[in-house]
């Protein structure tokens, strides 16, 4: 028995690109390239990075929405990366997902009652009356009143819709929830309500979260450990406090320094501003993938790819970093 609820080993997800007149395979998008991490029960692991770094693809590949190119995903001591279709249904009862866009993730032609009953219908749980009772309980749990069951998604605000999305995700008492940018589309005052709700549910139901976001302040607030991703790879992985107080990878340092601080008297003179854009994941740079934007890159970084390993002065998995100089 492993102490981890989820283990991701050397996960790769390459999407083929086809082109030319014969629609031949002409290349790959290296969306996720050799990612490994693990999660203990009840823990929250944050995945941060900029657009195109592969954080969403990691989440979806774990849920088996994509067939991974290589690597293993072990959930609850079972290798789920090669699971046949029939067994996937049970898996998806245990791993649920909350999506970014509360406007598009709810079927606009179904009432809230129908949307929330659907998980029970799909898995054949309970009779109609029991389902209705369960849905009522769920609505109260996420802070909505029972009488919204007959209403449609368009009647709700973004924050309320996200509550409905959360209710649907926790309906079948999953073990783990993959939250893909759950608060990015919401206003700040609503964002904090949803974050509080997620924290409450985690305590009540002993949930394990993978929390995917680009907002580092939000990720730090909710996560126990944080993995920073860049171009399909994890560049740094440690507990949430260390990543902000003692970031070792130059990319993490730049990312943290780029966040605008809501304090006009903060010292901005030491701000690190990265030059250039993120390179394309179709043709990632050689060696260390960050070397094209790294302020301290050397020839070694162009030639040799660093591995994710324990930082100097640490041992085990306490602080993993992928840089020749950290």
């Amino acid at each position: 028995m492993s102490e981890h609820l989820l283990e991701v080993n050397n996960l790769k997800m390459h999407f083929p690109i086809h082109g030319g007149i014969f629609w031949k395979h002409i290349g790959n998008v290296y969306a996720v390239d050799d990612v490994s991490f693990n999660i203990k029960p009840g823990e929250t692991v944050g995945l941060v990075g900029e657009s195109g770094c592969g954080k969403t693809t990691v989440g979806r590949t774990i849920l088996h929405l994509y067939d991974p190119t290589a690597g293993r995903v072990i959930f609850d001591n079972q290798d789920i990366s090669k699971l046949p279709k029939k067994k996937l249904r049970q898996l998806r009862r245990d791993i649920q997902m909350i999506f970014q866009d509360p406007y598009e993730s709810l079927n606009s032609r179904h009432t809230i009652g129908e949307i929330l009953k659907e998980p029970f219908v799909i898995h054949g749980i309970g009779a109609e009356a029991e389902r209705t009772a369960e849905v009522k309980k769920l609505l109260l749990k996420v802070g909505l009143s029972e009488n919204v069951m007959t209403r449609y998604p368009h009647e709700f605000s973004g924050g309320q819709r996200q509550r409905i999305g959360i209710a649907r995700a926790v309906a079948l008492k999953p073990k783990m929830i993959i939250c893909d940018e759950p608060v990015s589309a919401l206003d700040v005052s609503i964002q904090s309500q949803i974050l509080n709700l997620l924290l409450d549910l985690q305590q009540d139901m002993n949930l394990t979260y993978i929390f995917i976001a680009h907002d580092l302040a939000v990720v730090r607030h909710i996560s126990d450990r944080v993995a920073v991703m860049y171009l399909g790879k994890i560049v740094e992985f440690t507990d949430a406090d260390s990543i902000y107080e003692n970031p070792l990878h130059p990319y993490t340092q730049a990312l943290i320094s780029a966040i605008p601080v809501p304090d006009p008297e903060a010292d901005t003179s030491k701000k690190q501003i990265l030059i250039g854009d993120v390179p394309s994941p179709i043709n990632p740079p050689s060696g260390c993938r960050f070397h094209t934007r790294c302020p301290m890159a050397t020839d070694m970084c162009v030639e040799r790819e660093p591995t994710l390993q324990a930082a100097k002065g640490t041992s085990g998995e306490a602080h993993l970093v992928s840089c020749h100089y950290a």
Partner: protein
């Protein structure tokens, strides 16, 4: 009008005709933009911050939207009363605007050079094509676009989001405007790119002395970039102050709630965040009196009267009965 002011908005009311009646997206707001300074307007979705900027540019969707009353004074001239052909001379030349989504704001079938040259063709008809091309390349270089000689002949889809926003800024600055209105210019960008764009805007402001009206929902960006701040809620200005004063000494319960509800990097983890309960009221069913009363923690009997902005410190105004 004081020497140091460039733009004054006075008692602006902007209304939209809708199927269910007239709504006022912006009701009786006033603020001033100082020369060479940055004014930030902050608020959540639907608070009227974008409608304010569109009103200043007279770009409200027609025929639904219109300025009902109030004045927008640029250098002594009331823009609300200007005939439309004169307004064309103001847009792009005196006041320019950049938008949130640089992909939809740029024309996908025109080369970058053509789009940049358009404002010169409009405002400086005497310039030759060669001159325009040369100035466009210089401009692209100034906003930090590498190899500008090549980029002028490329299409928007060939460059990244951050680069597109730089092109937007170059277009806006082509005619050296007095005021740049930036409506959430960095919201669609990644943080490292956002930092680049904010730095570029600061640099250009130092160089040209233009004023910036910066509209955003991100208090971090406000703190970093602005000199003065206007906080809007449901179509009203609820508080206005110099930036340091606002963050150190927020007065209005909404401003306080907003500042407390952002997770801060220095915060202790997994502690409950302060929230503002409930949500922004719909413009169709606004509460009578103070519009924040249904979410406010310190609401009293007098709150069914509309509060006025009153001084609560030097240059610091808030609209709340309880102060």
């Amino acid at each position: 009008m004081g020497q140091d002011l460039i733009l004054q908005v006075k008692n602006l009311v902007t209304a939209f005709d809708t199927e269910t009646g007239k709504i006022r997206a912006v009701e009786d707001i006033s603020f001033e933009v100082k020369k060479g300074k940055t004014l930030g307007i902050v608020g959540e979705s639907g608070c009227g911050k974008s409608v304010t900027s569109l009103s200043i540019m007279r770009l409200l969707p027609k025929p639904a939207g219109s300025i009902e009353s109030g004045s927008i004074i640029l250098d002594g001239v009331d823009l609300t009363k200007l005939p439309i052909d004169k307004m064309h001379k103001v847009r792009g030349n005196r006041i320019s605007m950049i938008f949130q989504e640089p992909m939809t704001a740029l024309n996908p079938v025109q080369k970058i050079g053509q789009q940049l040259g358009e404002s010169y063709k409009l405002h400086y008809p005497q310039m030759t094509d060669d001159e325009i091309r040369k100035t466009s390349i210089e401009l692209l270089d100034k906003v930090g676009i590498p190899v500008p000689e090549r980029r002028v002949d490329e299409y928007p889809h060939q460059i990244s989001g951050g680069m597109r926003q730089r092109v937007m800024i170059a277009m806006a600055l082509a005619c050296k405007p007095d005021i740049l209105i930036a409506d959430e210019p960095t919201t669609a960008l990644d943080v490292t790119i956002q930092a680049q764009i904010l730095e570029l805007m600061k640099e250009l402001q130092r160089e040209t002395g233009m004023s910036i009206l910066f509209i955003t929902h991100d208090l971090g960006v406000i703190a970093e970039l602005c000199d003065d701040v206007v906080v809007m809620y449901a179509g009203k200005v609820v508080e206005t102050a110099p930036v340091k004063e606002l963050f150190k000494n927020p007065k209005h319960p909404y401003t306080k709630g907003l500042l407390n509800s952002i997770p801060k990097l220095a915060n202790t983890r997994k502690i409950k965040l302060d929230t503002i309960e409930g949500m922004v009221p719909s413009l169709y069913e606004l509460p009578k009196g103070c519009r924040f009363q249904n979410r406010c923690g310190c609401v009293g009997n007098e709150c069914d009267q509309t509060p006025n902005l009153s001084a609560v410190g030097s240059n610091h105004y808030a609209a709340c009965h309880k102060l």
